[in-house]
């Protein structure tokens, strides 16, 4: 197994090192031959399983992911950066040159692409695991499923469904706190509502979310267009359903 990383906060690959009880058993079953954050070992492949963290933002990385795909039998992208471009995809809505000059005095030294794109935009991906960051139990399930030669069992319904199953008091209904749970992909264990907070969508959109109707609900709670725009344009800003919804609020925010 190999673990790769592109533009990201390292959090998703760290999730593997945070499997305190499972790490050594996993290492007993799969040989980890490439994982920069953990080892100097430099196995050249081919790899049976590649986990890829991070989004593609430089010409060098765009070339590297092609190589990794060629050398990997099974490739799984992990986390919001690798599956949706991540928070750094906020540049996709703006002119990246403007960003470079805001942060660096000599922009000419910086070589970056105009867009931050998910792995699947570059190479075929065998499985995508969502979350910012991913959930450790889901990561273990993906590795276990691979070892057993089956598909990972990861639900794709909304956070809202699990929230109700968990018996939480709905923060939206009971407290008027806007919550993205109804349109967000489950997997976190329903964290935010359990802490009296509205979901902010860190697992990205669920399958076929009704974002328009949720925006309507948020409006009734007093959320304005500018805030709606920000809500959808966040850690999964360039995931299709969220991108489309955010664009709708952009139009309304700047009429004409």
């Amino acid at each position: 197994m190999a673990v790769w990383k592109f533009a990201s906060c390292d959090g998703c690959q760290l999730t593997l090192l945070n499997c305190e009880d499972e790490l050594l058993p996993i290492a007993g079953e799969v040989e980890i031959v490439y994982f920069r954050e953990a080892t100097r070992a430099d196995g050249k492949g081919p790899y049976d399983l590649s986990l890829v963290d991070g989004s593609i933002t430089t010409p060098r990385d765009a070339a590297a992911i092609q190589e990794i795909r060629k050398r990997s039998k099974y490739l799984v992208s992990i986390g919001a950066c690798a599956t949706a471009g991540g928070i750094q995809a906020l540049r996709n809505f703006r002119d990246v040159k403007e960003f470079v000059s805001m942060v660096y005095a000599t922009p000419a030294y910086i070589n970056t692409l105009e867009k931050s794109t998910p792995i699947a935009a570059h190479v075929p991906v065998d499985y995508e695991l969502r979350g910012c960051p991913i959930n450790k139990n889901q990561l273990i399930e993906v590795i276990r499923a691979y070892l057993q030669g089956r598909k990972p069992v990861i639900p794709s319904h909304s956070v809202c469904i699990d929230c109700k199953r968990k018996g939480n008091i709905c923060v939206m209904v009971a407290h008027g706190t806007p919550c993205l749970g109804p349109v967000t992909h489950t997997g976190c264990g329903v964290l935010c509502p359990s802490y009296n907070r509205g979901c902010y969508g860190c697992f990205g959109p669920m399958e076929t979310p009704n974002t328009g109707s949720l925006s309507e609900g948020w409006r009734r709670l007093g959320t304005n267009e500018a805030d709606l725009l920000r809500v959808f344009r966040n850690f999964n800003a360039d995931a299709e359903a969220f991108r489309k919804e955010s664009l709708r609020h952009e139009e309304k925010d700047h009429p004409g």
Binding site: K5, F6, A7, S8, C9, D10, G11, C12, L14, T15, L17, N18, E20, D21, L23, L24, A27, I32, F35, R36, E37, A38, T39, R40, A41, T57, R60, D61, G86, I87, Q88, L90, R91, R94, V96, E98, F99, V100, M102, V103, Y104, A105, T106, Y109, I110, T112, P133, C188, L191, C192, S194, Y195, N196, R197, Y200, C202, D227, R230, N234, F235
Partner: protein, 429 residues
């Protein structure tokens, strides 16, 4: 003229992507570069136009290893802008979640990233084949740190419970007390860790650094204090920009930080320790003394020991906070926006993390400046590389290369942070 290069194209066991190049001509080091090629992610640019309430969650995504540090610097800077001070048990809980992060991050570094260097293993998983009990102990201590963050924040990477004015939900006394037994075990194991780390073979290397860290009147620093150095600096955080500057260098995507008119400086556990030994708990001081450390230490390879001492402290402090805790009436105090500039520096596991924001009357962020610890340490890391190679120039190439990597890993550099920001190569001639 003989030229030789030591290069490491991909530094391992650091967070993020970096490389090293050291160029040696006629037995002299002519250049040492730590290159950071982690792609830039432009956080400061896209924070503009966001709401002041979002900064904590957004900036935590700069780094998955120390998200709490970003959250703490962000909320404190915003509260500074809005003239709010968070006190009492909410303040204590913020120290508590920071204890969790120091433990988790330091123990990861001690056992999984740094110890393998001293013992000659590629990584902790390889080390576990011969030293399973030691690696297991490390993992279990780390787990105790993560348990603190998870209870306080929902999860240990990008916790969701931190907000302006405090938290979304505060724990009950009983919930916190449920951690006690595990923390007591882990504190003993941390003392044991320092004792074990003291037996590692340390290269004999010392330098007269300028250490910079926060200093608080009566606490070992987490979220507050004045910025002080062992060479006379003593500032309020608001004066940071007057005394520190960042410069861009062609070989790195990370900006280099300097003290104006003076040059590189050292932030992190070693700086905190040298400037705040007297503020450590008696148990942490005792652990340090038993490991042969005095109140001052200038050997960066002994950073592993000092991290261990800070872990002992963090468990001690966490246990103290839990024992004294009374649940607050409200999980947060109100923070209302006003047009202002807010400043904060807190002590991330790897060192001082500075945030500055300008916001308007609605709380919209007009501009943001974030200086992570690794970009502050880059200059010192390059200077260390140069001196270490000069001193050990006769080592065979492979050993010297490893020594160079180890020199950088001393700093536990977080490269993802510094590009918000890294790359080793040694050239010999």
């Amino acid at each position: 003229m003989k030229k030789k290069t030591i290069r490491v194209d991909h530094l391992a066991r650091v967070e993020g992507e970096g490389a090293l190049t050291v160029t040696i001509k006629d037995g002299q080091v002519v250049d040492a570069q730590l290159r950071i090629f982690e792609p830039p992610r432009f956080f400061e640019a896209f924070l503009r136009g966001r709401s002041f309430t979002e900064a904590a969650d957004i900036t935590s995504r700069i780094c998955g290893i120390c998200p709490v540090a970003y959250q703490m610097s962000a909320v404190h800077a915003m509260e500074d802008a809005c003239g709010v001070k968070v006190d009492g048990s909410l303040r204590a809980l913020r120290r508590l979640i920071y204890c969790g992060e120091w433990i988790e991050s330091h123990v990861l570094h001690i056992y999984m990233l740094h110890a393998p260097d001293f013992l000659g293993y590629a990584g902790a998983i390889e080390m576990a084949k011969d030293h399973a009990g030691i690696v297991q102990r490390g993992l279990q201590i780390k787990k105790a740190g993560n348990a603190i963050i998870s209870l306080m924040g929902g999860r240990s990477i990008h916790p969701i419970n931190v907000r302006l004015g405090g938290f979304f939900k505060t724990p009950t006394k009983r919930e916190l007390a449920s951690l006690t037994d595990r923390l007591l075990w882990a504190r003993d194991a941390a003392v044991e860790t320092v004792r074990w780390a003291a037996t590692l073979p340390f290269p004999d290397y010392e330098r007269d650094y300028e250490f910079v860290a926060l200093r608080h009147p009566d606490e070992y620093p987490f979220n507050e204090g004045r910025l002080v150095s062992n060479k006379g600096l003593d500032l309020s955080v608001r004066e940071y920009d007057e005394h520190f500057e960042e410069e861009q260098v062609p070989h790195s995507n990370a900006l280099h930080s300097k003290i104006r008119g003076r040059g590189g400086y050292f932030v992190g556990p070693m700086a905190r320790y040298n400037l705040n030994f007297d503020r450590l708990s008696p148990l942490a001081q005792e652990a340090a003394r038993a490991a042969g450390l005095g109140p001052a230490c200038r050997n960066p390879f002994k950073g592993i020991l000092i991290r261990g001492v800070e872990v002992v402290y963090a468990f001690d402090e966490a246990l103290r906070i839990i024992a004294a805790y009374e649940a607050p009436e409200h999980p947060a105090v109100p923070v209302l926006p006003r047009p202002a500039v807010g400043y904060a520096a807190t002590e991330a596991p790897r060192g001082t993390l500075y945030h500055r924001y300008r916001i308007d009357e609605q709380g919209t962020i007009l501009d943001a400046k974030i200086v992570p610890p690794t970009s502050q340490n880059q200059k010192v890391m390059e200077d260390d590389l140069r001196r270490v190679v000069e001193k050990e120039i006769d080592l065979p190439q492979e050993k010297l290369t490893w020594r160079c990597e180890q020199t950088i890993r001393n700093y536990d550099p977080c490269i993802s942070c510094s590009t918000h920001f890294l790359r080793l190569e040694i050239r010999r001639g």
